[in-house]
């Protein structure tokens, strides 16, 4: 379980990105974090693994208080949190395999990683994951040769090979087309279910969030303004999160079933046919 208490982040510029956030994510829960740009979504997940140093407040991952760890312990804690990025953030000039194996860096010594002599167990796991996402034939391709969707799958493998307890996912679909976006979201959710992982997904596509997440948290100007199931996400709620706009078209699709055939599902109702 992940527990945030009074988490606050104030940037050097004086911007208060997070205002005393209290949040709990139970084991196995997939939670979507929605909100407009600049609401503090990506600051929040970066404060969890301390890529961004929180100003005050605490972060607990199960029994570990992440927010007070020293550098070495922090590295150990980061191994337990896989992160998936907007724009994939693969190391573009490394091969797919090296990118996946980089998820094991927290576990192996420098020289082993330097000579790319990872334990066979890790390599097996890497192949298994690549196979799971359908990319095992691409292992020796360079990351910048892949398409967007393929890169994000590699990103997912990199996060999963860490054998994490929690996934931190930052706008996984921001640079993907609608169809690939849904495939990626589905894959993430399936994998979370398979491995009983909890996840925080930053996403600004409300429809996708409603479709895949069990719980939705709305963030606005560094504060939680909504916390509840996707079904309660009404027009008024979206207005408090994002501001005045006609939200009906967005909400209409909530009852749409997950199993709809992938290739034909349009993103919003006005795009049908």
């Amino acid at each position: 379980m992940l527990r945030l208490q009074k988490l606050t982040k104030k940037y050097k510029t004086g911007d208060l990105a997070l205002k005393s956030i209290d949040l709990e994510v139970p084991d196995g829960q997939v939670m979507a974090l929605i909100g407009p740009s600049g609401a503090g979504k990506s600051t929040l997940i970066r404060c969890v693994n301390r890529l961004v140093e929180p100003t005050s407040g605490s972060v607990h991952l199960n029994e570990t208080e992440v927010s007070s760890l020293g550098q070495n312990q922090l590295r150990k804690a980061r191994r337990r949190m896989g992160m998936i990025f907007q724009e994939y953030a693969l190391v573009e000039r490394l091969s797919v395999m090296e990118n996946v194996l980089s998820g094991r860096l927290g576990y192996v010594s420098f020289w082993r990683s330097y000579f790319r002599k990872f334990p066979q167990k890790d390599i097996d796991e890497a192949f298994r994951l690549l196979e799971r996402v359908g990319l095992d034939h691409m292992a020796d391709k360079r990351a910048d040769e892949l398409s967007g969707g393929q890169r994000q799958r590699v990103g997912i493998c990199r996060a999963l090979i860490q054998d994490p307890e929690l996934l931190l996912i930052d706008e996984p679909t921001a640079s993907l087309d609608p169809k690939t976006s849904r495939q990626i979201m589905r894959l993430i959710c399936e994998l979370c279910k398979e491995r009983k992982l909890s996840a925080i997904i930053n996403i600004h596509d409300v429809l996708l969030a409603q479709m895949f997440a069990e719980r939705i948290v709305g963030l606005q100007l560094g504060e939680v303004v909504y916390d509840g199931p996707p079904s309660n996400l009404k027009a008024e709620v979206l207005t408090t999160i994002y501001g005045e706009e006609d939200w009906e078209a967005t909400i209409d699709k909530v009852d749409d079933d997950d199993d709809t055939e992938l290739d034909t599902v349009p993103l919003s109702s006005d795009k049908v046919e």
Partner: protein, 264 residues
């Protein structure tokens, strides 16, 4: 499929023959070149105290005892730099335009490229060697050498920049019925100007540094004073000169960054 599969990082060069060929070639070259270097270690060892003395002479450097010579030399280097940079750049503009494939007829292109290639091949100091023979000792020979070097440097970069510019903008201006010079002024110049001003500053910087060595062959500048101080083992004066050179280069570099920001 899920049985153990080994994995190795793919080699950088895929063809094994080429890979091993290059590796052995490289190693062989290294061994041979180090082997033929003939270092006279006794002489090197003898140099150690001298090196110590040289480094010690930086603390503090001696700006005063040769100050008239030093300042005369520095000033001479500076005006040589100004004149040669201006002349070099002025001359390099027509040559650079000529060396642009999308601007010039083929024969002009070839001639201009030829001029650029020749003036870039020989280092300034070699040109200065000949200039001294032709024009006599003194700064004029140095100015000739630096100007020729500037033409090669600036002309080539100008030509490349124009070749890389956005053809759409150029086309749009041409479409208005502009004359060749109007076209140059409205579409080419705005596109290449900021970078070229930066490069002019950079060339000024290079010319100043080069002018500090031209004295070695008698082509004027601070170099002559510097060599004299080396020859007489007056290391404190050498240190002072070197520090002044470093200082001026830093000032030029800093102000060129400033000017570039201002231009853009």
């Amino acid at each position: 499929m899920s049985a153990s599969r080994s994995w190795k990082r793919p080699p950088i060069i895929e063809r094994p023959l080429l890979r091993w060929g290059l590796t052995t070639g490289g190693v062989l070259f290294l061994v041979l070149s180090i082997g033929t270097m003939e270092v006279n270690w006794e002489r090197v060892a003898a140099g150690v105290p001298r090196a110590e003395r040289f480094i010690a002479s930086f603390f503090p450097p001696d700006f005063t005892s040769k100050s008239t010579d030093i300042w005369a030399g520095i000033i001479e280097s500076l005006w040589m730099t100004v004149v040669s940079t201006v002349i070099g750049i002025l001359l390099s503009i027509p040559v650079g335009l000529g060396a642009t494939r999308n601007l010039s007829p083929r024969y002009v292109y070839l001639i201009s490229r030829g001029i650029l290639a020749v003036s870039r091949t020989f280092p300034e100091i070699i040109v200065a060697l000949f200039a001294v023979k032709l024009f006599g000792f003194g700064p004029f020979a140095g100015i000739i050498a630096l100007s020729i070097g500037s033409i090669g440097f600036y002309g080539k970069l100008l030509a490349e920049d124009i070749e890389d510019m956005d053809p759409v903008q150029a086309e749009a201006v041409k479409a208005t019925g502009a004359s060749w010079f109007q076209w140059l002024n409205y579409s080419v110049q705005p596109q290449v100007m900021p970078r070229m001003i930066g490069l002019a500053m950079y060339r000024f910087d290079i010319n100043f540094r080069e002018s500090a060595v031209l004295g070695i062959v008698g082509a004027g500048g601070i170099g002559a004073t510097l060599i004299t101080s080396f020859d007489r083992y007056e290391f404190s004066s050498s240190a002072a000169i070197l520090l002044i050179i470093i200082g001026i280069v830093m000032v030029v570099e800093y102000s060129s960054g400033f000017i570039r920001k201002w231009v853009q």
